[in-house]
């Protein structure tokens, strides 16, 4: 639906729906923290970013035009759908039988300050740089 619809804004809205769906997949994988962060970051923040990007695009550029990659994309997505369907059929979905899942938030927090402290800090420095860069770009003088 995201790629079929001609209206770019409908595509963004459907993409948000699929983000929420991915959060559901994370929940079935017992990753509660990642699931909620998925909704918070993707469905909450990234979606707003994309909507603003669409709104700042001229109306003529908002139609989903066809191009030469249509056929390869079709084949590729058909393969992907086949793969996902195979996995869906093969998976044991009986979540309730496995009992309540463990909390992952504390472990993720530990991992961020112990083994992955450096990448975490680098990511935050990168974000600060991006923030300052954005402010510099839109400054008046």
């Amino acid at each position: 639906m995201i790629i079929v619809t001609r209206n770019l804004l409908h595509a963004v809205l459907l993409l948000i729906l699929s983000f929420v769906g991915i959060a559901g997949v994370f929940i079935t994988l017992s990753a509660d923290f990642v699931a909620v962060v998925q909704v918070l970051v993707y469905a909450g923040a990234i979606a707003v970013l994309m909507i603003f990007a669409v709104m700042l695009t001229p109306a003529s550029g908002r139609r989903n035009e066809g191009n030469i990659l249509q056929l390869p994309a079709l084949v590729l997505s058909a393969l992907l759908i086949a793969g996902v369907s195979y996995i869906v059929v093969q998976t044991d979905w009986r979540e309730a039988a496995r009992g309540p899942f463990q909390t992952t938030a504390a472990d993720i927090g530990d991992a961020l300050v112990q083994p992955f402290a450096l990448p975490f800090e680098i990511a935050s420095v990168l974000l600060v740089v991006a923030l300052i860069g954005a402010i510099v770009l839109v400054r008046e003088d």
């Binding site: 809205l13 909704v39 469905a43 909450g44 709104m55 309730a96 008046e140």
Partner: protein, 421 residues
Amino acid sequence: MLASWYDFRDFGNAVGRLVEALRDAGASDHIIYPVTALIGCLGVLVFVGGATLINIWLERRVIGRMQSRLGPNRYGPFGLLQPVADAIKLIQKEALTPRAADAIVFTIAPVVIFVPAILAFAVFPWGKEMVLADLNVGVLYLLALGSTSAIIVFMAGYASNNKYALLGSMRVVAMLISYEVPSVLAILGVTTFAGSMSLRDIVEFQRTHWVFLLFLQPLALLIFLIGSTVELNRSPSDIAEAESEIIAGYHIEYSGMKFGMFYAVELVNSLGVSGIIAALFLGGWWTFGLEKFVPGWMLFIGKMYAVYFLFIWFRGTLPRFRIDQLMAFAWKFLLPLAIVNFFAAALEVLIWREYEISAGIVLPIFAVVNFALAGALIAGWGRVMFQQFQRFPRRARLVSGIEVPELPYPAAPHPATEPVA
């Protein structure tokens, strides 16, 4: 040991007994989990539905009192049936769809806007055993729900194909994005103290240490309260539907029950945020031993309505902000305060855990320190920022190379730029 099923001090007992009975009857987990979940959902939905009807009456009545009016008083005793009459009237009205509107999105928006509003009620700690979904990431879940509502409001505004609606929804999105940051940082202080993001554990923390988190995190409560009036889009921050500027904002094109949905969801959201504050800062179902005599869920609902009354009070008495004031307030005032507050909370918890001081000694000290810090920060930072707020807002240049046409007449000097005598 579970109490008997008719022990309505905690509806969790009844459901617990039902699970036992079903298990004894040989039902598998495939039946037990859906049945209990459905009962819980039904309970939440009944509460939300009933509360919305009462809130309509309460809000109009209380604001009426505050503004020296009577408020609705025709239908039923004290006008209690007014919400029912309103609903019947709204259902009878024609639900118009503008010809230029994006019909599907236009129709979906008022329906899906209820989803995050009602989902928030799932994690509330109504009682000791009375938690529908005890998520380990409950606080984060509530924040995630709050952030999704921006998209839905935007859907409504965009699909209406009306410039006022689009302006209103853009304002909502900008406000939600801005005020989310200080609100999240404020709540982070609470979770740092409680050491958990589960609402049940946060209430448990307040119970074991015999303290409301309100006393430990006064500044966080203030920031969250202000942030949530903005996220709820209520006066004094209801610039998204400021009648004097953009008529009715994002729901300008909605009529009949579609408008009714937007009207109702605002009340549901207000109650939801009141519930969050009641659980995080006011101890949820626990109230200094009073919960032994009064059912916990009654106390929780009582606290919820106490906070809700505060929101009505804000609405009834405070004038509306201007959009640049509101934005400046978030980024220049609340955000630094929230960061300092979170830093102080983290430091205090570190001292507490590191030196293993008993909670009885350290928590009163922290409470005093945090109250002093809150007062000093608000007074000090307010003085620092005061001159900044007086400045005439300069327009940000988003796109270069666009000429602004000269006004045909000489522009009058803005009053703010004139020297103060």
